[in-house]
Symmetry: C2
Subunit: 150 residues, 2 copies
């Protein structure tokens, strides 16, 4: 694990650096729960069914990476709460893209129990699209990395 981290932190690839921060499986599920409003250690644990030491480790990592931060409990109790920073919140597009892919490719017909809806109108979200500057919708082979000259 340590070898992998050292490598990717300095990778020139934005995907590799992202995965260094949130590539851990549980980290993304913690972020999913945090986006849905979960804030307390015990609530994360109940939702994820995760051992306390592993959850604690992941939350610490997310805080260290600037994806989450701790705040005093909203009810004035002694608990601290974990909330997403702006950096963390902005992962919602990754979360939504994963959801839509999973919804389409990881459930047999009729097995889906939830879908994602727009909170205002309670309508199913539009499928995410990748667009060029001029508005063209791009497919999986329509984009590529470009070296930035300095």
């Amino acid at each position: 694990m340590k070898g992998k981290r050292t490598t990717l932190e300095t990778s020139t690839c934005a995907i590799a650096r992202s995965l260094e921060v949130i590539g851990d499986w549980w980290s993304l599920l913690i972020i999913r729960d945090a986006l849905a409003g979960t804030r307390r250690f015990g609530e994360f644990q109940k939702s994820l069914g995760l051992a306390k030491n592993i959850l604690s480790n992941r939350l610490l990592k997310l805080v260290a990476c600037g994806v989450m931060t701790t705040v005093p409990a909203s009810d004035g109790s002694a608990y601290k709460e974990y909330v997403l920073t702006e950096r963390g919140e902005r992962l919602y597009l990754v979360i939504a893209a994963l959801w839509q892919w999973g919804e389409e490719f990881c459930f047999p017909p009729g097995q889906l129990s939830y879908d994602l809806v727009d909170s205002l109108k309670q309508e199913k979200l539009s499928p995410i699209e990748l667009k060029a500057q001029d508005g063209r919708t791009l497919g999986p082979r329509d984009f590529s990395p470009r070296v930035l000259l300095r």
Copy 2:
């Protein structure tokens, strides 16, 4: 590891099921390379700097999950090549969302070496947006899961 897999394969959450298939860190980097045209074991290994046994294991898993498939070598040689299935190709939105997040939040100013461009015009891609059915752009707190009634 085995415990986690058993849990998530049958999860009702589409994100959890997606991560079961592609949540592994290396798997997403393999998919990134495959989208960019990499097809051969040796090419993946050179790009990822990954031990042969680990790469072999991840490729086998991606094939078993229906994200990749093997085909005879395009040059008629004895090598087999690994290509994305439709299920795998459609992860390009997850890859692009990760790229854009990493580009924005994982590089100090001026450190970015690559960006993602539209292959036709070589222009930087538009930022991905999440949209409601009526076209409204949604933020991180504007959507939620809905239980599907049966």
